[in-house]
């Protein structure tokens, strides 16, 4: 029998029972739609995270304190005093792949302006901190080298801090706020950056000379962290190694001795986040494919029941000349058509669903062509796999018995 006749026979058989065909397809529709939606949303989320990390700068390199153990007890990093100003100077002097570096010292406390107050964190750095962290000054100016040397009581505030401390709209620049007992003069407001990939408000920030935070607020001699910029994104890995070498040298670590600091790059962060979202995508897709399998079993179930119900039809077809193969192919064809049509409807639903979801979440809309292509293959395979057994059963019927079947 030629393919065209086969398709015509299968199509007519399906169209005779539209409702049943539709209900049978429902499982596949839901399965495919959820796989497509999950994979697309997974890709959208990792794209949005990528975008945000890139906007913070993928050439950012951080040197942090290492958690330390004393007699097997992890005492955390808060009291570790291993990082010094000299480390920053050494990095700036020796590193070829680093363009800028700044010490970072943070202090949390209540910010007060008149009757307004706001819990905030002052981040101390040198004059290049804003460039390293990709902040821009919206109004006013950045503090200067002499400010750093003099541990001047000046600061720049982020948009969130400005809005909360100056709720009736006056210009923050030139105003004085207090942090604990210490008055700070605001010399600039930072341009808004919104939330980062962790959902943190990047505008909830106060920047001041590190010397001021170190000496006047915390009264310590060490620093908390070093932030540096690689010359370019491409050399970030080399810059990372270089910084590690310089730091080991500075801290006089012998070969084989563990680092007493940690070096992290934003690129590593990106990789880590990608592996996390990648894993989540796979997990969600795996869960969604369970519904696909259930859908496939639904097709098998209906086709199987159909064979019994259609015994007379099968007998008739055989009596007018259908070969066993024709019956087998007809039933197989029916289940493939069911799963493919269901698959196409599922793909459309999945795309609509993921479009709506990423629009609602503010993520970029991603169509996974691989997922769509794969769904199609999976559908055809489902049709063949789950249609085979019922089709085999139908073809094995004896025409006389089938005709007599009531």
């Amino acid at each position: 029998m030629n393919l065209f006749n086969l398709l015509r026979i299968a199509y007519r058989a399906l169209i005779r029972n539209k409702t049943r065909a539709l209900l049978t397809m429902l499982g596949i529709i839901i399965g495919i739609a959820s796989v497509i939606a999950m994979v697309s949303l997974g890709q959208s989320s990792s794209k949005s995270i990528n975008d945000q990390i890139s906007s913070t700068g993928t050439n950012l390199i951080m040197v942090m304190r290492q958690n330390q153990r004393q007699g097997g007890v992890n005492i955390g990093s808060a009291n570790v005093q291993s990082l010094k100003e000299e480390d920053v100077t050494a990095i700036m002097r020796k590193a070829k792949y680093i363009s800028m570096a700044s010490p970072v010292i943070s202090a949390s406390g209540q910010l007060v302006s008149g009757s307004n107050n706001w819990p905030g964190t002052i981040q101390g750095g040198n004059t290049s901190l804003l460039v390293i962290r990709k902040y821009e000054v919206a109004s006013g100016t950045m503090f200067t080298e002499p400010d750093v040397r003099a541990a001047a009581k000046v600061c720049l505030v982020g948009q969130t801090v400005a809005d909360n401390l100056f709720s009736n709209g006056e210009n923050p620049v030139g105003q004085t706020i207090r942090f604990g007992r210490i008055p700070f003069k605001i010399i600039g407001v930072l341009a808004s950056k919104g939330q980062n990939q962790m959902g943190q408000d990047q505008d909830d920030i106060v920047v001041a000379p590190y010397t001021t935070v170190q000496k006047r607020i915390l009264a310590i001699t060490y620093i908390h962290m070093i932030m540096a910029s690689a010359m370019s994104e491409d050399v970030a890995p080399q810059a990372l190694n270089e910084v590690e070498g310089i730091m080991r040298e500075q801290h006089k670590l012998k070969a084989g001795q563990d680092n007493d600091f940690q070096v992290r790059s934003q690129q590593e962060m990106l990789k880590m986040m990608n592996s996390v979202t990648g894993f989540l995508t796979v997990l969600l897709a795996a869960i969604a494919s369970i519904s696909l399998v259930v859908g496939g079993i639904g097709i098998m179930n209906i086709m199987y029941v159909t064979v019994t119900e259609r015994t007379k039809e099968i007998g008739l077809r055989m009596s007018i000349g259908a070969h066993n193969k024709d019956i087998l192919l007809q039933f197989l064809c029916e289940s493939i058509i069911l799963s493919l049509v269901g698959g196409v409807i599922g793909i459309i639903f999945g795309l609509i669903l993921s479009y709506a979801a990423s629009a609602a979440l503010g993520w970029p809309y991603m169509v996974s062509t691989t997922a769509v292509g794969l769904s199609f293959v999976v559908c055809a395979a489902t049709g063949i796999f789950f249609g085979w057994y019922p089709a085999k059963k139908a073809a094995a019927l004896d025409p006389i018995n089938a005709l007599r079947y009531e």
């Binding site: 026979i9 029972n17 009596s319 007018i320 000349g321 066993n324 005709l403």
Partner: protein
Amino acid sequence: MNRIIEIQELRRTFQVGSEQVHALKGISFFINEGEFVSIMGTSGSGKSTLLNILGCLDRPTSGEYFIDGTAASKRTKDELSTLRNRKIGFVFQSYNLLARTSALENVELPLLYNSAIPSKERRERALHALEQVGLQDRLHHMPNQLSGGQQQRVAIARALVNDPVILLADEATGNLDTRTSYEIMSLFQKLNAEGKTIAFVTHEPDIAIFTSRTVQLRDGHIVRDAPVTPKAAAESLAALPVDVDF
């Protein structure tokens, strides 16, 4: 004269558990082109068993069977399917039309299993067959929109559409009232007059009188095989009292 069907010493034995049921115990006859044969006998005498073998749905346990000059007794299942598709037209007692499928598509069905026939010719032949049974104005009716007699006509059209060498009918009037039975018999007589060879199983003598030869079976043997002068079904139909249901 052309021998359409020839059987020699045909036996069919069924194995039921440990017991053997001899449904056909060695029968021989032939049917020539243009004959209208009724196969009669009491229930269980082997009529359907014989017709199934003639229709290539079943194979004899022993004996020879030739249809249209070709040996059919030792064919494979697929070869028998092809034989049925090209040479045989079946009419069943319960019509066996596909539900929710138009008369036209039901009639087209056998030709879908013959890839040598293009779709245009398939349509034309189906239309012609429906015309032969007088249903040219019911082409797109579904079986549930047709009377029993009309459904049987569609089934006859389906049996005619592949231009078979013989029409085989098993109790084709069994589900119909007298008037409709006569109409169907009149249709068979018309087809026979146009040259169709027909073998017609029935256990009703007043249906068999419309055929030109009666083969009587009893207990798996042929007990009588005689030509009869057929009565015209159209006349019997006209003789039926009007407006009286039987």
